[in-house]
């Protein structure tokens, strides 16, 4: 089995850490763009979680469709 996928809460924690680092001036300016990219990816991931069915739920939906 592949490594367990990151949960929403874990992703949010990662995002909180980046925001904290930026607020506390802990990030080197050279790393900033990389971190912003990472943060944007997390935000996109989390927003998608809120609005869309993920793969696991898609599977459930598929099973439901087949059983009907």
């Amino acid at each position: 089995m592949a490594a367990k996928k990151e949960t929403y809460s874990q992703a949010i924690e990662r995002l909180e850490k980046i925001v904290r680092q930026i607020d506390n001036n802990e990030l080197d300016i050279d790393l900033l763009s990389e971190k912003i990219k990472e943060a944007n990816e997390i935000i996109a991931f989390c927003s998608a979680k809120l609005m869309k069915a993920d793969a696991e739920i898609e599977k459930l939906l598929e099973e439901k469709r087949q059983s009907e």
């Binding site: 929403y8 949010i12 995002l15 990030l27 935000i43 609005m51 739920i57």
Partner: protein, 414 residues
């Protein structure tokens, strides 16, 4: 021997005696059993009493509620208690004692006091809760945490219930566009089979618990009768220990059922249950929004700071350079001045020295001495400075400032 009575006569006698001896209306506490109502609207039932220890029947009487009374008594009772007028409950009723020649002993109900039943139900609920507490399971479900995103919802309800439709509609049409997955685990939500039916639905959810975040038990609006199925020990114990948080919305206004008491969260209606889940999602979405706003502001601030730093550095370069330049220029000027002064004084000194030397050279020249009257005596071209070098008869040449003369040595004085 007296003339034997016919059965009818005897029964008529019993009837008369009873009505004479027990002419009043009596308030009686009893448990209902075998409650039936027929097409004409009359209700027939059994009143029973059990021994509290052995649970054996110790008294029993047939009862009747005539349609004209039952029409009002039943809704009044059910409204007040949230409990169907059905077998198994304890009631306080006002009855008249009657005897019919054909049908025998019968209690005719003319009034009911729902507070007694309420009290009895409350006592039963308290007993169940106390037992759960003693078993240490009462608050287990409340101690579970509702996931940050409660999106996978196992719904225990009746598929035909209006409440189920309301719930799904509310979730699927939430104004934020949050995604929810609901799956119905059908169960009977009223009648005698509530307990059994909900328990088996819970089992079905439990078998697939990793596919769900929460369980919602809902029941449509409509009449708030017959909630007794949700007041049972087995159901309460099962819910209390259920591994997923349970949210109840079984649509009633009266005191909580036992199920409500042990559930993680209790709301009044299916719609409220949907709202609860949507709110939870909203909280998550708000947190995400705040974080991304914080991130944006933080990055902008950081960039602004860096820009200012650069700007400050940039501005310092020209003034720094010009001050260094003017410093160097000054130094150069000073040096130049110093140099010319040094050169001038050196020249002056050298000139002076030269003049001095010149003077001395001039002073030392023989011409000068000759002019002052000195002369040089030479013999054979060599200057004589000692008389002992000469002998008598030597020819001497005397050089003067102008011209030379020759002479002969005649005497020497040494």
């Amino acid at each position: 021997m007296e003339t034997p009575l016919s059965l009818f006569d005897l029964n008529a006698l019993v009837k008369r005696s009873l009505s004479q001896c027990l002419p009043d209306e009596y308030w009686v506490q009893a448990e209902l059993s075998d409650v039936r109502s027929n097409a004409t609207g009359h209700c027939y039932l059994e009143f029973i009493q059990k021994d509290p220890r052995s649970n054996n029947l110790i008294a029993k009487a047939r009862g009747t509620v005539w349609a004209n009374v039952y029409r009002m008594l039943k809704p009044y009772f059910e409204e007040a208690t949230g409990q169907a007028f059905t077998s198994g409950i304890k009631v306080l009723v006002k009855v008249t004692v009657e005897f019919h020649e054909l049908y025998g002993y019968n209690l005719t109900v003319c009034d009911i006091d729902p507070t007694y039943t309420l009290g009895d139900m409350a006592r039963r609920r308290r007993e169940i809760l106390k037992q759960l507490e003693e078993e240490g399971v009462l608050t287990l479900n409340k101690e579970l945490e509702i996931p940050v995103l409660p999106q996978r919802i196992a719904v225990i309800s009746s598929s035909t219930a209006a409440g189920y439709g309301d719930f799904c509609h509310q979730l699927q049409n939430n104004s934020h566009g949050f995604f929810f997955y609901t799956e119905l685990f059908p169960a009977l939500m009223q009648g005698n089979q509530v307990e059994e039916s909900v328990l088996s639905a819970l089992d079905a959810v439990n078998a697939r618990m990793y596919q769900f975040d929460v369980v919602v038990i809902i029941r449509g609006g409509g009449a708030t009768s017959d909630l007794s199925g949700f007041d049972t020990y087995l159901l309460a114990a099962s819910c209390a220990q259920f591994p997923l948080p349970i949210i109840t919305g079984i649509g009633h206004e009266r005191d909580d059922t036992v199920l409500d008491s042990v559930a993680h969260t209790r709301v009044k209606t299916p719609t409220a249950a949907a709202e609860f889940l949507i709110n939870r999602m909203e909280e998550a979405a708000d947190l995400l929004d705040n974080l991304s706003e914080q991130l944006r502001a933080g990055v902008l601030l950081r960039l602004e700071q860096e820009k200012r730093r650069l700007w400050v550095l940039q501005n310092r370069i020209p003034s720094f350079v010009s001050s260094r330049l003017s410093e160097a220029k000054m130094q150069l000027l000073t040096t130049k001045k110093d140099l010319s002064q040094a050169v001038t004084s050196l020249f002056t000194r050298q000139k002076h020295h030269l003049e001095l030397l010149h003077q001395r050279v001039n002073d030392a020249s023989p011409e000068r001495l000759l002019k002052r009257g000195y002369s040089i005596t030479l013999k054979d071209g060599k200057a004589i400075i000692d008389a002992t070098q000469l002998a008598e008869g030597d020819v001497l040449t005397t050089r003067l400032a102008k011209g030379e003369v020759n002479s002969t040595v005649t005497t020497k004085n040494v």
